[in-house]
């Protein structure tokens, strides 16, 4: 065991626990400096197993470095810094420390060399993210947090069963490549996919994330699903099923986001959509595809955080979250509008933004593998992303009709956080090499060719045309669209009520007659043996003597017979 290398995740978690003791500018400095220090520590973790310890009969590796682990740990630390800056004005004293524990645990998963450590940090993430959600403080977020925790604990139980089975079967705890070839591995895969927001439990994500505070959703968007992408890249690359799961998530996200009215739920559905692209890449499983999935996770965390920061700014300054109540905000929130639009262009993979250099690698991998239908699906979905997030979000929030709202720009810390992430979106889009150098495999891909830029522009601009042509069909209404959370919010409670009613019926039909029977027996006993009962009555001495004589006579007779 090497003592000289600190565990970046644990440093962030311990630092988070000390945060509540700080006040004023000292706290503000710590909130931004701590994740940046952790980022430095991530880069001090060398390749290979660094920490090892014996646990029961197994050798655990809680700290292990390689390129893939470092890539994800880097973006998690960067996200914690940007999110911390954005949340400096957050009044809740729980949210930021909880978010840092959450981020630290995500870094812990990225740097874990064995499945036990992965499991432990994943569960810590579930608890910490629930606290982030909870710290919002109103009844709706409390209930959403309970549902969120329920799904994640279920996923945790499935994962734990899978890991236990894997350890029993192989005698190994190391986190290496697996295939869905045994019940244990299927359970592990399912446990990972629950965290990724895959069907059928995907509704936990759009149900829970938009109920967090204006800054809480920014943190929530980053860690859980991307940690799932990371463990899938490491554990199940090239599992073909993932291609179809990913494609489903992509179109599910688009269709539900098109119908949604709540601006942050639109963005929550688009998280599922974007993670779908990554899952498809993992399913294709070539070096190009895995590079694409990893790069897309990296860029996605930044532009999704940026989008949710702009939405969070709107929520904080207007106290409104429905598209049908918003619009025209560009008049007084130009900076938020520009930053939100840059995020929207990046998620749509517009040339010169980060999405363009990452998502296209997944499409390229599909083309290289001659997977025509997958490629067509991804191309249609790229158009759909521009539709549901690239235009719909900024259009309905910042433009469309004038809602009459004239909110000011958000406070300086929030503006700087948005500018920082907007800068990263453009910088990575213009200069892709630094990100490509971080990817797990050597990158053999040039994003900026005349053909790629032109075809992408055709695709996106004609999607834009479709949006405006079909605008009457996209008018926002005060509605929600039922999702699978209906199963545990309506169907399951209804079943439970039904069961209770059935039980009451059974009680009426069977238990009442039983009670009547017991009561009848007890009454009979009472009548016979009670105070006035035949057998409890006080008898006269003479009749006693008579009966004793009868008994003795009977005995005498029996003795001689």
């Amino acid at each position: 065991m090497t003592d000289t290398v600190l565990h970046p995740g644990l440093v962030l978690i311990l630092g988070a626990l000390l945060l509540p003791a700080l006040r004023g500018w000292l706290r503000a400095v710590a909130v931004v400096a701590l994740p940046l220090a952790v980022l430095g520590l991530v880069w001090l973790v060398p390749d290979g197993a660094v920490w090892q310890l014996r646990f029961l009969d197994y050798t655990l590796t809680p700290l292990q470095g390689d390129k893939l682990a470092r890539l994800f740990a880097t973006i998690f630390a960067l996200m914690a810094a940007g999110g911390g800056l954005f949340a400096l004005g957050q009044k809740s004293r729980v949210e930021v420390p909880a978010a840092f524990v959450y981020a630290g645990a995500a870094i812990g998963v990225a740097l874990a060399g064995d499945l036990v450590t992965v499991f432990a940090f994943l569960e810590l993430m579930a608890v910490a993210s629930t606290l982030v959600l909870w710290s919002q403080g109103d009844a709706a977020s409390y209930r959403a947090a309970r549902r969120y925790l329920m799904v994640h604990l279920l996923g945790g139980v499935v994962l734990f069963a899978g890991i236990t089975g894997h350890v029993v079967q192989t005698g190994e705890v190391a986190f290496t490549r697996m295939a869905p070839d045994s019940v244990a591995h299927w359970l592990i895969l399912i446990g990972f996919l629950v965290n990724a927001g895959a069907p059928p439990l995907s509704a936990w994500l759009p149900d829970a994330y938009p109920e967090a505070s204006w800054s809480g959703t920014v943190f929530l968007s980053a860690f859980t699903t991307k940690t799932a992408v990371y463990v899938l890249i490491r554990g199940f690359p090239g599992t073909e099923l993932l291609i179809w799961v990913g494609l489903f998530m992509i179109f599910y996200g688009i269709v539900y986001a098109l119908l949604e009215n709540d601006m942050r739920r639109i963005l929550a559905y688009s998280i599922v959509n974007q993670v779908g692209f990554m899952i498809v890449g993992i399913g294709i499983g070539t070096e190009m595809a895995l590079n694409g999935a990893a790069a897309h996770a990296f860029t996605h965390i930044i532009y999704k955080a940026l989008l949710l920061m702009s939405a969070g700014s709107v929520l904080l300054m207007t106290n409104r979250r429905k598209c049908s109540e918003l619009g025209g905000l560009f008049h007084t929130m130009p900076l938020t509008t520009v930053c939100g639009t840059i995020g929207a262009l990046a998620i749509s993979s517009f040339p010169l933004t980060s999405g363009f250099i990452s998502k296209s690698m997944v499409s390229q991998a599909a083309a290289d593998g001659h997977l025509l239908w997958v490629w067509l699906g991804l191309t249609a979905a790229s158009a759909g992303v521009f539709l549901h997030a690239g235009i719909k979000f900024p259009w309905f929030v910042f433009f469309q009709r004038d809602s009459g709202l004239r909110p000011a720009e958000p406070p300086a810390s929030m503006r700087w956080a948005m500018l920082f992430f907007a800068f990263l979106c453009v910088a990575m889009g213009v200069w892709a090499e630094p990100l490509y150098a971080l990817l797990p495999y050597t990158v053999n891909y040039v994003p900026y060719t005349g053909a790629h830029v032109l075809t992408q522009l055709q695709l996106l601009l004609f999607s834009g045309l479709a949006f405006f042509v079909m605008l009457p069909w996209l008018k926002r209404t005060l509605t929600i669209t039922l999702d699978t959370d209906w199963l545990w919010r309506r169907a399951a409670p209804a079943l439970w009520q039904g069961a209770l009613r059935a039980y009451a019926g059974v009680r009426g039909g069977v238990a009442r007659p039983m009670q009547a029977l017991v009561k009848g027996v007890l009454d009979a006993v009472e009548r016979t043996y009670g105070q006035e009962g035949r057998l409890a009555r006080t008898w006269a001495t003479r009749s006693m003597a008579l009966w004793v004589m009868v008994l003795l006579l009977g005995y005498l007779t029996l003795y001689y017979v």
Binding site: L259, G384, P411, M470
Partner: protein, 95 residues
């Protein structure tokens, strides 16, 4: 650090931004359509090296993007017929 409370100014001041003028919006539309036409015509000048046969069809990405988006909107509307509910279905944000 603290943030300013939500600021709303009803009745709102008359819109006076460059974008509020319908003539400018019309100008933007014309510019947009010109750019659309340009991206399609530019295909004649740029070699596209398609991977699949269908990609070689003229302006594939343009019409495919438009058709895919239209199809997704129609699909979404169809799904809405089945699954749309008032937004207080689960109680007023308090379920």
């Amino acid at each position: 650090m603290s943030h300013t409370p939500p600021t709303l100014v009803p009745p709102f001041p008359p819109p006076s931004h460059w974008l509020d003028d319908p003539r400018h919006v019309k100008l933007l539309w014309r510019g947009f359509l010109a750019v659309l036409a340009f991206t399609v015509l530019a295909e004649l000048a740029v070699h596209l090296h398609p991977h699949f046969g269908i990609e070689g069809v003229f302006a594939f990405h343009a019409w495919f993007g438009f058709a895919a988006c239209t199809a997704m909107i129609v699909l979404a509307k169809g799904l809405a017929l089945l699954l749309k509910r008032p937004d207080n279905y689960y109680g007023r944000r308090d379920d």
